[in-house]
């Protein structure tokens, strides 16, 4: 083989993996990179007299002065309270189900069911339940608890907690199934040995169940944070529309309104970039976590 042919062969060998990767990279580029590039570009521009002008960070400065946007961010942060609540409820219920209480298989299906329902269906049903003249208040009236009749969705103070309740109700099933699946793969001997050593129920959970679930809890926590930051649009849109008085406004709805109601696609893009970055951090954390859990599993 001549030296030039050898060089060509070497070069080809060097390029080979990239050539194999190329089709996938092109598809990923078209599906993900292009929209992101376009989004980032738009966030630095503004329309003026038929042209889109580069305006630097103006859109970003604008949104951080916008009270409605700040309210949306505050609401997203408030909704994060639901994450530890979801983790706690999912954990407790998973432990009970793992204890194989009577009818546990039925309960497992029932508790997972809300997670399978479309958000719009859940939102609509709960809208009717929580209206001032809705099912819940009618029920409270029937059982003589009139003083607890409240305008769950019509009050600026109650609408966000009500929304939070619905999110927890729907999303907690995912946590239960995750935790239960993990617990079922834990070796029974661990629990048996602890029982022989005289560990009571609390000690079993504290020293075996929770440590065994640690990575799953972390995973569920991060997925729930991502959900709260960037997947609650459906709930808000159907149940409250961001009201009353912006009390349930969230960043996703703010993006939608800016882009499609107020014709401010560039402002919407700037908020989207911020949301993408924040969510990206959590996605990155989640990836790291998975990496770590794989490493732990591979350890002898």
């Amino acid at each position: 083989m001549s030296s030039s042919a050898a060089r060509r062969y070497k070069l080809l060998r060097l390029l080979e993996p990239y050539l194999f990767l190329a089709p996938a990279l092109i598809v990923i580029g078209l599906i993900f990179a292009f929209p992101i590039v376009r989004l980032v570009t738009l966030s630095f521009q503004r329309p003026f007299q038929g042209q889109l002008l580069f305006v630097g960070l103006t859109n970003y400065q604008t949104i951080f002065k916008d009270e409605v946007f700040l309210r949306a961010v505050r609401n997203n942060l408030t909704l994060l309270i639901s994450v530890p609540i979801m983790v706690f409820i999912a954990l407790i219920l998973a432990i009970f189900l793992f204890d194989r209480i009577r009818g546990w298989q039925f309960y497992r299906t029932t508790l997972f069911l809300p997670y399978l329902l479309p958000i719009t269906v859940v939102g609509l049903i709960f809208s009717y339940i929580f209206q001032l003249s809705g099912v819940l208040n009618d029920f409270l009236k029937v059982i003589g608890l009139e003083r607890f009749i409240l305008d769950w969705l019509g009050s600026t103070k109650l609408a966000l907690p009500t929304l939070m309740f619905v999110i927890v109700w729907k999303e907690v099933g995912f946590g239960i199934v995750l935790f239960l699946a993990r617990l079922m793969s834990v070796e029974e001997e661990l629990f048996d040995a602890a029982k022989i050593d005289g560990a009571n129920w609390w000690r079993l959970q504290w020293h075996i169940t929770i440590p065994q679930l640690a990575t799953t809890i972390e995973f569920f926590t991060i997925v729930s944070i991502i959900t709260i930051l960037s997947w609650v649009f459906g709930y808000v849109y159907v149940m409250t529309g961001g009201g009353p008085g912006n009390s349930t406004m969230v960043t996703e709805l703010f993006i939608y309104l800016s882009g499609f109601r107020y014709n401010q696609m560039n402002i919407a893009s700037a908020v989207s970039v911020i949301l993408l970055l924040v969510t990206g951090i959590f996605i990155f954390l989640e990836l790291r976590l998975r990496e770590r859990s794989v490493t732990l599993e591979e350890m002898p």
């Binding site: 990179a33 007299q49 003249s133 019509g154 499609f260």
Partner: protein, 456 residues
């Protein structure tokens, strides 16, 4: 490559691509228009043409679907080379879907628009073509409410049907409460007195639903007008040449609050949406609504014409608009990317032929936006009354003359805050002014368009 490094490389690539990206240009310039609409070609010789219409309207004018299907079938019979596909949009997807189409320069040939700013925003962005070169002036002159769609001396859409806002009442409940049907409330004090009487017999005086926001905009348009003389006054305040805190603009918040304090409204107004609020009237749970005349025929089919009456909104102000009946023409426009503008214009004109105008009224009970409509067809007294108001004292729907951000963040939000008891009328007037100011700061381009619209 570790995942960390991969993410880093990906982000770097994205940043480089973002930096290198060409500035995104707005939708293409409007193409040159033909001098005039020519008669459609003969079927045997003509090239096949497909027109796509994205429309909305069945939601507020039940029967519109039937009319459109029939109209398309008849048009296709006359023009065998033309196929028309009509896609009904939901209220929430109407604007977003068209915005996406405009960004892609692909989508319908004919698009449905609400009046005023809802149409002109798309004219300003280049998504629409003016009809002046496509539809003869003589024809255009017959369309009602053209002023809503006129900008820079050109007409950017065609009115299809009229949508007005009467106050609708239940005569049986009025009589039961002792309200004289021959002396209906026509001042604010009389309206509040009527609320007291209705409350006394355990009937909700007026029902509405604010949860989805839209009704807040209606209230602004119906009540906020009474101290002012023209839609231009509201454009003036939007562009910063007047203030929404001025008493003439702000008083409606106080008046709405008076109705709230007098328990005129359904208690669940904040937790039900617009449609549910209107339904309470149809179900006989409330005695009045700020209604929409496009729904009258549909309601009559449920409760009968005898169980409905219409009246003008009681007055508190003395501006010229206080005496007007709110009317807007919902309309259709032709998109700049359409390959068949002439044919689209021809179809639009076909919808305004006498036979189609009369059929429209027959199917929907709604007045078409054309003065050639045979008014002898109106035999129902309530609809006759509506027609009389339209002819004698129609006035603009103010939501069509303010920025949509102002409508949403001041009117939609403000009415919810008022009924939640979180803000006073004065605070809400201040909120409106702040939103207007924010809109001006955030949207220099839209502001310039509004200034041009206001001044020209």
């Amino acid at each position: 490559m570790s995942k960390t490094r991969f993410v880093f490389v990906l982000l770097t690539l994205v940043s480089i691509l973002a930096a290198c990206a060409q500035p995104v240009t707005p939708p293409a310039e409007q193409p040159q228009q033909p001098a005039a609409t020519e008669a459609p070609a003969q079927p045997a010789e003509a090239e096949p043409v497909k027109l796509v219409i994205w429309w909305w309207g069945e939601q507020e004018a039940p029967g519109a679907q039937q009319w459109l299907d029939e109209t398309i079938a008849e048009y296709q019979k006359l023009h065998r080379n033309v196929t028309i596909e009509a896609v009904l949009q939901s209220t929430d997807s109407l604007i977003p879907a068209f915005q996406s189409a405009a960004a892609a320069q692909q989508g319908p040939d004919i698009q449905y628009f609400w009046g005023g700013v809802w149409t002109l925003e798309f004219a300003w962005s280049g998504a629409l073509v003016p009809l002046d070169d496509l539809i003869p002036a003589e024809e255009r002159a017959h369309y009602i409410n053209n002023f809503e769609r006129t900008y820079d001396g050109k007409l950017w859409g065609m009115g299809w049907y009229l949508s007005g806002n009467p106050m609708v009442y239940n005569p049986t409940l009025f009589e039961k409460a002792g309200i004289d049907l021959n002396d209906l409330p026509d001042t604010w004090d009389e309206l509040i007195a009527a609320c007291d009487k209705l409350n006394a017999i355990g009937v909700t005086p007026i029902s509405g639903g604010l949860k989805d926001g839209w009704f807040g905009g209606w209230l602004f348009s119906i009540l906020g007008r009474q101290n002012l003389d023209s839609e231009k006054d509201f454009m003036k305040a939007s562009i910063g040449q007047a203030k929404f805190t001025d008493p003439a603009y702000a008083e409606w918040w106080e008046r709405l609050n008076q109705l709230k304090e007098a328990k005129c409204w359904n208690a669940d107004i904040n937790s039900v949406d617009y449609q549910q609020g209107q339904d309470q009237f149809v179900q006989g749970k409330s005695a009045m609504i700020f209604g929409n005349d496009t729904f009258l025929k549909g309601w009559a089919e449920i409760i009968g014409w005898d169980n409905m009456g219409v009246m003008r909104v009681p007055k508190y102000g003395s501006g010229k608009l206080a005496d007007t009946y709110v009317v807007t023409a919902q309309g259709l426009g032709i998109t700049s990317w359409s390959q068949h503008k002439k044919e689209a214009a021809d179809f639009l004109m076909f919808t305004h032929t006498p036979d189609r105008l009369n059929a429209w009224f027959k199917y929907t009970g709604v007045l078409p936006a054309d003065d050639r409509f045979d008014t002898a067809q109106i035999d129902q007294p309530i609809l006759k009354q509506i027609f009389e108001w339209v002819v004698q004292s129609s006035g603009p729907n103010l939501e069509n003359f303010i920025p949509s951000m102002l409508d949403e963040q001041a009117n939609f939000t403000g009415t919810q805050l008022l009924f939640a008891g979180d803000k006073t009328p004065a605070e809400l007037a201040q909120l409106t002014e702040e939103v207007a100011q924010k809109w001006r700061e955030q949207n220099p381009d839209q502001l310039q368009n509004f200034v041009n619209w206001y001044t020209k």
